[in-house]
Amino acid sequence: MENRRDNLLEALKAIRRSIWVFHLNTGSCNACDIEILDVLTPYFDVERFGIKPVASPRHADLVLMTGPVTRKTLPKVVNALRAVPRPRLVLAIGACAVGGGIWHDSYSVSGGVEGLKKVLEENGVEIDKLVYVPGCPARPEAIIYGVAVLLGIAKPKVKEEVVEVK
């Protein structure tokens, strides 16, 4: 376990300046996908940080996952994630991917990445690091921030808040 963590940290260090991303749409409404395209355009120009889209999950370091993982896409998503070389890094982008969004209790979705995790466990596919990027859709800046959190460059700003009213 300890060894694996060290390997992950080493791998994250190695890809810090060159991250190849694969865009995986799992039945999203396209808003998050447009925001991802926005990140890749010259306006945000993430090639500054070495982030580059690739066409196959076999070439990818990082999977940008959008959508609530519908039933139709579920087997394809599992296959695509299985094809990603270790360490498997996944960025769950948008309200749908993080918590199921407004379809969280629908019959036709598996409830975002939380539902997907169970299916992946059954199929023996392990995700090494998963970062959640909430937003509906997530802003391009939020996606860049999410990648920074994944690489350990930035610290997460949100904390669990519990307030008790007397």
Binding site: P42, Y43, F44, D45, R48, A95, V98, G99, G100, G101, I102, H104, D105, G112, E114, K129, L130, V131, Y132, V133, P134, G135, C136, A138, R139, P140, E141, A142, I144, Y145, G146, A148, V149, L150, P156, K157, V158, K159, E160, E161, V162, V163, E164, V165, K166
Partner: protein
């Protein structure tokens, strides 16, 4: 003509200049209309659940647990529509402009306001209302003050007793 094309492009690129934003080193463009995560002011919240009814994605949920009632806010499901802020009767919910919410631990995305339920003035059991809800109702409608501190069961019993008293049933029985 085609040979001159690259030179033409240089002119166009020079005129438009650099469009790339230096995001991490420069504050992002956030307009005043932008809706980010909501903030629940625990000092104002009365735990009525109006926001829970209005929430389209069930990001806001009420969880009853014995004497406590928790208002959960899960950012991961929130679609930032701002309806909760519209319906909140006390204005406890404000829409902030925070959007850098990425985290690797899903527990960080939860926030919770825990209320305590009021106890019935008649039987001492907890009612369905929180103490803040009752004081809010009393401050708005002073007429309800006589029975608002009771639970629904005691309220029903008192009503039936009053009805029976009016028809002389209890009175007749106790006299005998």
């Amino acid at each position: 003509m085609s040979l001159l094309k690259p030179f033409k492009l240089i002119g166009i690129a020079h005129r438009s200049g650099v469009v790339t934003v230096r995001y991490p080193f420069q504050p992002p463009l956030v307009t005043p209309e932008f809706r980010g995560r909501i903030r629940i002011d625990a000092s104002k919240c009365i735990g009525c659940g109006a926001c829970v009814n209005a929430c389209p994605s069930n990001a806001l949920t009420l969880v009853d647990d014995g004497e406590r009632r928790a208002l959960n806010y899960f950012i991961g499901r929130c679609i930032y529509c701002g309806r909760c802020a519209d319906v909140c009767p006390v204005g406890a919910i404000t829409i902030s402009r925070e959007f850098e919410l990425a985290t690797d631990n899903i527990g960080d995305l939860n926030s919770r306001v825990i209320h305590y339920k009021a106890t019935c003035s008649c039987c001492g059991e907890e009612t369905t209302a929180t103490e803040r809800m009752i004081s809010y109702v009393v401050s708005r409608v002073p007429v309800t003050e006589t029975y608002v501190h009771m639970g629904s069961r005691c309220r029903k019993r008192r009503f039936i007793e009053g009805l029976m008293m009016g028809r002389g049933m209890i009175y007749g029985e106790s006299e005998r």
